[in-house]
Symmetry: C2
């Protein structure tokens, strides 16, 4: 299926169920999903989805991930309010990564920072960008 | 270490060696790395790095990934010319994902497309964005 998509011309359309049916989930049934703020391009976070999380995300238009630490569906923002409204979902060329264009309410990160990618390598140091905005357990 | 970074204020600096020493590599010694075009924010691809690939990337300022299919270091663009000049590398809050801000020469994707994320979900279909620009094996 993904080989067919590789060769497809722009605008070619294929049934979603066929494509999802060919996602090469890893041995835990997961693929990484990158969430990006749809209108600024800011990379917010990387999390994981299984088939159920992807299906729920597509149906509810809010991101639902698979929490590897809790081993359960993680409805992002359900308790914190920092939900992600889904604008678009894309798959990469070999189908083992997802890109989510979202509208992020408040901060994506559990530290309250807008993005989880706040640790910036600068020479032989790491510089932290942004203050933690919530009390981190 | 990453707990310390969670609580750090903006501008806090920490030794890179300490931070890299605490990356929670997966059971294959890898973490996912997302490459983004530094000046447009376009998400180009998701690949994987082990410690050696990250070290080489930081030293050469060109991306070096770990190829899971070939089980070896993958010096991106070495044969194709589609190298990625590294502008900045970031780690996420728990250190198990990397963000690479790069200047991508030509296309990131093996199909010749600029980005690997060309399969866009549209309702119950997937629409292909962009034509393949090279002959895909």
């Amino acid at each position: 299926m993904f080989t067919t998509l590789e060769h497809a011309r722009a605008g070619g359309r294929f049934p979603l169920a066929d494509v999802i049916g060919h996602i090469p989930w890893n041995d835990q049934g997961l693929v990484p999903a990158v969430a990006v703020q749809h209108d600024t391009g800011e990379v917010l976070m990387l999390a994981w989805m299984n088939r159920a999380a992807l299906d729920e995300t597509l149906h509810t238009r809010r991101t639902c991930y698979w929490s590897r630490s809790r081993q359960g569906l993680w409805r992002k923002g359900l308790t914190s309010g920092s939900v992600q409204h889904v604008k678009e979902v894309r798959l990469d060329c070999d189908g083992d990564a997802l890109l989510l264009l979202v509208d992020q309410v408040a901060g994506a990160c559990h530290t309250g920072r807008r993005s989880c990618f706040y640790n910036v390598i600068d020479g032989d140091e790491v510089v932290v960008r942004g203050n933690p905005a919530v009390s981190v357990p």
